[in-house]
């Protein structure tokens, strides 16, 4: 089994993602987007970065790369897909997941550690956490504010499709603990099926035991399901 970490022009978390996945025992490889998905792909990660310079909108160009049609087909066939940061923006731009990630409320690039509350612990990406558990992951983005219509967001919440919300260290969701102004403090969301998910915080940056916290490992272990 191989997790394909897809590189677009301007991806920059691709090698970190492979390193984190390999450290957890996964077989992972870098796949240049023009080369198409390898035949033995059993998981797909869309890594962070600034694909195509965030031109037009973050993720807009990469989402129209031909490989994304392969990714959508693989997702329909049940292959786990995880988009992180720029990968999350690409996921929403390509309709793998609902909503859009747009300019932070601060209009600034935010690079910091945040607390996240696990909203649904019954998905491949959150199954090793407890519902309501508070974890800490880094964020690094300028366009991470989750936007969607109020009606649609209520539907997603009702269907358990919100993975994480930004919160404080005690798990309280508040405007102060919301780093980018995301609607309802949403930090991650699943697609039609929960084996497809996107999130703005970086689990791969909190997964190596030599480097501080490993709160992100359970997310990446979703590829094992």
């Amino acid at each position: 089994m191989t997790i394909a970490v897809i590189q677009f022009g301007g991806s920059n978390c691709d090698r970190d993602s492979v390193q984190a996945l390999e450290a957890m025992g996964f077989d992972a490889e870098l796949v240049w987007h023009e080369d198409g998905l390898p035949d033995d792909t059993t998981g797909i990660m869309l890594p962070g970065g600034f694909s195509y310079g965030d031109y037009l909108r973050a993720g807009a160009m990469a989402a129209r790369s031909p490989i994304m049609q392969d990714v959508r087909e693989a997702a329909v066939d049940g292959t786990p897909v995880l988009g992180v940061c720029n990968g999350a923006q690409i996921g929403c731009e390509s309709s793998l997941t609902p909503g859009a990630f747009t300019t932070n409320e601060s209009a600034r690039f935010q690079c910091e550690h945040v607390h996240l509350r696990v909203e649904n612990a019954d998905t491949p990406w959150t199954g090793q956490y407890e519902e309501g558990e508070v974890i800490e992951l880094p964020i690094a983005h300028g366009e991470g504010r989750y936007e969607i219509t109020d009606d649609r967001l209520e539907e997603l919440e009702g269907d358990g499709r919100i993975l994480f919300k930004y919160c404080d260290a005690e798990g309280e969701v508040s405007p102060e603990a919301n780093p980018n102004g995301s609607k309802h403090a949403v930090a991650g969301v699943t697609g039609e099926s929960d084996h497809v998910a996107v999130m703005m915080p970086h689990p791969e940056r909190a997964s190596l035991e030599d480097l501080d916290r490993t709160d992100g490992q359970p997310v990446l272990s979703g590829f094992a399901d």
Binding site: L56, R57, R64, C92, T102, N104, E105, E147, G181
Partner: protein, 84 residues
């Protein structure tokens, strides 16, 4: 075939926060200007050959739907003019 310029204007839907516009407005106010609101928009000018204006508008609209706008957060409009 006739040469047209299709102008596609993409703007955030009403009610969607626009931090860049808010920052721009604050800067204008700091310069002493008075204004009630400021909205920003992206404008794309597309030169294309088409049978008629309707054909040109249809094609520009499809480009807006598929790439230039994100329907989750944007509205857009298309205006077509024959090139001089």
């Amino acid at each position: 075939m006739t040469a047209f310029t299709a102008t596609v204007t993409v703007r955030l839907k009403r009610g969607v926060l626009d931090p860049e516009a808010a920052t721009t407005q604050r800067s204008l106010e700091r310069l002493g200007f008075e204004l009630d609101d400021l909205r920003s928009a992206d404008v794309f000018e597309l030169d294309l050959d088409a049978e008629d204006a309707e054909d040109a508008a249809d094609r520009a609209e499809e480009m807006a739907e598929r790439l230039l706008a994100n329907p989750t957060i944007h509205d857009y409009d298309v205006a077509v003019a024959e090139q001089e």
